[in-house]
């Protein structure tokens, strides 16, 4: 009884047990929130591995590689070997089909873009080849004239 009256006395107010003030805590948490909101990004970067062998122009290799040319007008030229005639696949799917069916899969495949072909298109083709399980490498850029 005596203790209760002493604690309710204004002069002997019990010390509060709070260790951190909530206002300071929320300040820090807000600053952390701002930091993570401003620095984090939800656009995830991915990558595509592209082989760029030194002899990508086909010289210096014992085998004549298969060549897939991406032309400036959006078309394709495909050469299955040194002796076979150039084909003109109309679409990427047709080109993939010819690469898979009408050529020797032991020969390396080199993708040769013409000079005005944009990177987006080169990468799309390389990605399609990779998905189809065809190892391909990116060769030198060709001048505008069709070979």
């Amino acid at each position: 009884m005596n203790a209760l009256t002493a604690s309710s006395n204004g002069l002997l107010r019990p010390r509060r047990k709070r260790t951190i003030s909530l206002t300071a805590l929320i300040d820090v948490v807000f600053i952390l929130l701002m930091f993570f909101m401003l620095t984090s990004s939800f656009i995830h970067r991915k990558m595509l591995e592209v082989n760029i062998p030194a002899a990508a122009d086909g010289t210096g290799s014992a085998q004549t590689p298969r060549l897939l040319v991406l032309t400036n007008d959006g078309g394709f030229r495909f050469s299955a070997s040194a002796t076979s005639a150039l084909t003109h696949p109309a679409s990427a799917d047709e080109a993939l089909q010819q690469i898979q069916q009408a050529s020797d899969s032991t020969l390396p495949l080199i993708v040769l873009p013409q000079d005005q072909v944009q990177l987006q298109r080169i990468l799309t083709i390389l990605q399609q080849l990779q998905q189809a399980g065809i190892p391909a490498s990116l060769g030198k850029t060709l001048p505008a004239e069709a070979p």
Binding site: I26, H44, R45
Partner: protein, 132 residues
């Protein structure tokens, strides 16, 4: 006024803050877990959009804009200097090429030639994918 009531009033004003702190904590944890930090780029580049599964990881950051501007680890350079600069790195390191999606093959070719000349046989081309 009853002096016993005063400390309770103080506590009640803090109680109102607790739901707010809960929500702020949840937001904080969401941004910490869902977002990812990435190295800033020196150039303004629209990365190509392809459906690749591999997250971008590499040691050397190369940036190429559509008009041929080149940055190596955020230092401006040219494709003529590039093979000398790349010679300082081990051939086992991975080059991340951040090239604009509208870069033409004509602009890309000197960079690829320089990379080949420095003894690298592979290049990681970085693409962007929203979500997931």
């Amino acid at each position: 006024m009853n002096p016993l009531l005063t400390p309770r009033r103080k506590a009640a004003s803090d109680d109102n803050l607790i739901p707010l702190i809960n929500i702020v904590f949840l937001l904080l944890i969401f941004f910490m877990v869902a977002g990812q930090m990435q190295r800033p780029m020196a150039a303004d580049i629209r990365l190509p959009d392809i459906d690749s599964q591999q997250p971008a990881q590499g040691d050397i950051q190369l940036e190429l804009t559509a008009d041929g501007g080149l940055w190596l680890n955020q230092q401006a350079t040219t494709s003529a200097q590039l093979s000398n600069l790349l010679a300082a790195y081990s051939p086992a390191s991975r080059i991340l090429l951040h090239a604009d999606q509208h870069t033409t093959a004509a602009v890309l070719d000197p960079v690829l030639t320089a990379v080949r000349r420095s003894g690298f046989a592979q290049l990681q081309l970085v693409s962007e994918q929203a979500g997931n």
